[in-house]
């Protein structure tokens, strides 16, 4: 019996995975990304999409949209808080719209979403938008989470998920969730 292929994604100094290959769509490496970013202007996107299934669960997977950052506003650096939050919002929200557009067949010649993404029931799939910040202290995460959730209110209503499904983690917490490889 052949072993399933796995994939790891290195972003912002963290190694995400290993994930089963058919459950991951690495957006920046995709034909779809190249196509929507052709010519002038660009579509901001997150790092990757993951069909996440809880261990020992037979329920349908949830769709995780993951953005990684090695720097974020915190005491001691010069990042502008509002600009940072808006930037993350744009990346996560655009990624959500992009996958739905691809699923609906808006880009038939450039759609390289794995088959597993095309066979999901998007009317009921649970959606989680996840930001992973490398080296961020736990006590600095809460205000970022609050501010980000606030910007997602209308998007969450449109797509019928909770603003609290926008989740901010540091690398330690992401490791616990098995999002990034254990050291």
């Amino acid at each position: 019996m052949s072993q399933r292929q796995t994939i790891e994604i290195e972003e912002s100094g963290m190694v995400f995975g290993p994930f089963q290959k058919e459950t991951v769509f690495h957006i920046e490496n995709s034909r779809l990304y190249s196509y929507v970013n052709r010519g002038e202007g660009s579509v901001p996107t997150a790092e990757f999409l993951l069909l996440h299934r809880l261990e020992s669960s037979s329920t349908a997977p949830s769709l995780w949209i993951v953005e990684a950052k090695s720097s974020a506003p915190r005491p001691g650096n010069k990042e502008d808080f509002g600009t940072f939050i808006q930037g993350i919002n744009a990346k996560l929200a655009s990624s959500l719209i992009l996958i739905i557009a691809a699923f609906l067949g808006r880009h038939p010649s450039h759609n390289d979403l794995p088959m597993s993404f095309l066979t999901q029931n998007y009317s009921s799939i649970s959606i989680k938008l996840i930001l992973v910040l490398r080296g961020h202290k736990k006590e600095w995460l809460e205000p970022i989470s609050d501010a980000l959730q606030k910007t997602f209110k209308s998007t969450a209503r449109i797509w019928n998920f909770h603003p609290e499904d926008v989740v901010v983690l540091n690398d330690e917490m992401a490791r616990k969730q098995k999002l990034i490889r254990g050291s």
Partner: protein, 338 residues
């Protein structure tokens, strides 16, 4: 259970409508917004309906009970002083409680007679209570003397009523499982219990074999002990409505979480809670309870005179408590760059 309420020209509540109320209900807003006022007004009305026709009492009309309750709760010389300042329109209150409508109104010149109370329901069966932000155990006998003997303004009816019911002795025997579990959880949080000493008329905190006078007992302990006492003496029962001003007062964030879990458990046994808060922790904890239990937790939010109703089941409503947390974080970043 209060299902919906409406206030017009009622003190700082110029226009408030709050529908689809649940077991746990939250009021937020800045200082002087009218949160405590709203809780006190609801308490006065609910308690009046509980006292109306209770037992063999048939002599006093609901309008008399209500006028007296409003007088002693708000301690205004005339109840017309409760009409919003600067308004020529009368105060109006409407609510649906246990599927029965109550409505009344009066103008600013009203001294003590509310002539048009509309209510066709029965007396409410439960015993409701208001837990003020300040603890009352150390002032217990002073409150009783001030009101029962001297009949003075100072301690309003929320304090006086609570002081009276704390005198009811504990009842032995089987309690509702949710109540018994809540008391056990409270004891765990408290590490002891409050006991009334009849000989020197004061409450002591008993931890193991040690007794502590109220003056050296932590404020938070006294606050939790009051709820334990009201469950132990069976004053609270299903159908009771508990109004808690500044639910976080004197409690450590960990204790706030545990306390709110206890309230959620009691709400499952049909005690209804109305809480006012300024606390980020209270909001966050209730948001988690709402999600975990898939429970509607209505929130009434005051912002510069405007009242907006939301529900934590739909996520955190826009509110100045979370906004301030974010602002402080931004300020921290700014400061560290200087």
């Amino acid at each position: 259970m209060i299902d919906k309420v409406r206030f017009d020209n009622f003190g700082p509540l110029s226009s408030v409508e709050w529908y689809s109320l649940g077991g746990l209900n939250l009021v937020i807003g800045e200082n002087s917004a009218g949160k405590t006022f709203l809780l006190k007004a609801l308490y006065s009305i609910v308690r009046s309906l509980e006292l109306y026709k209770r037992g063999d009492e048939r002599q006093t009309s609901l309008s008399e009970i209500l006028a007296k309750k409003l007088h002693w709760t708000f301690q205004a010389d005339k109840i017309g002083d409760l009409v919003s300042k600067g308004s020529d329109n009368p105060l109006l209150f409407e609510a649906v409680i246990n599927n029965h409508k109550i409505a009344f109104s009066f103008g600013k010149d009203t001294v003590k007679q509310i002539s048009n109370v509309q209510y066709e329901g029965p007396s409410l069966e439960g015993n409701s209570v208001f837990l003020p932000a300040k603890e009352i155990l150390s002032l217990h006998h002073i409150i009783l003397k001030s009101r029962e003997i001297d009949q003075l303004f100072g301690f309003d009816d929320t304090y006086f009523d609570l002081a009276k019911v704390l005198n009811i002795r504990p009842t032995k025997g089987k309690n509702f499982p949710e109540f018994a579990q809540s008391r056990e959880n409270l004891r765990e949080l408290l590490g002891g219990r409050m006991e009334y000493d009849e000989s020197d008329h004061r409450w002591n905190f008993k931890k193991g074999n040690e007794k502590y006078a109220p003056g050296i007992t932590a404020e938070g302990v006294k606050k939790l002990a009051i709820l334990d006492t009201l469950l132990g003496n069976r004053y609270l029962s299903p159908q009771s409505i508990v109004f808690i001003d500044e639910v976080e007062a004197a409690l450590h964030p960990k204790a706030i979480s545990a306390f709110l879990d206890i309230l959620a458990l009691l709400a499952e046994k049909d005690i209804q809670f109305f809480m006012a808060t300024h606390s980020y922790f209270v909001l966050k904890k209730l948001l988690l309870i709402s999600r975990k239990k898939r429970l509607s937790i209505p929130v009434l939010s005051a912002n510069q005179g405007e009242w907006t109703a939301g529900d934590l089941i739909d996520g955190m409503p826009d509110n100045p408590i979370v906004d301030e947390s974010i602002r402080l974080y931004e300020e921290q970043i700014e400061l560290s760059l200087q």
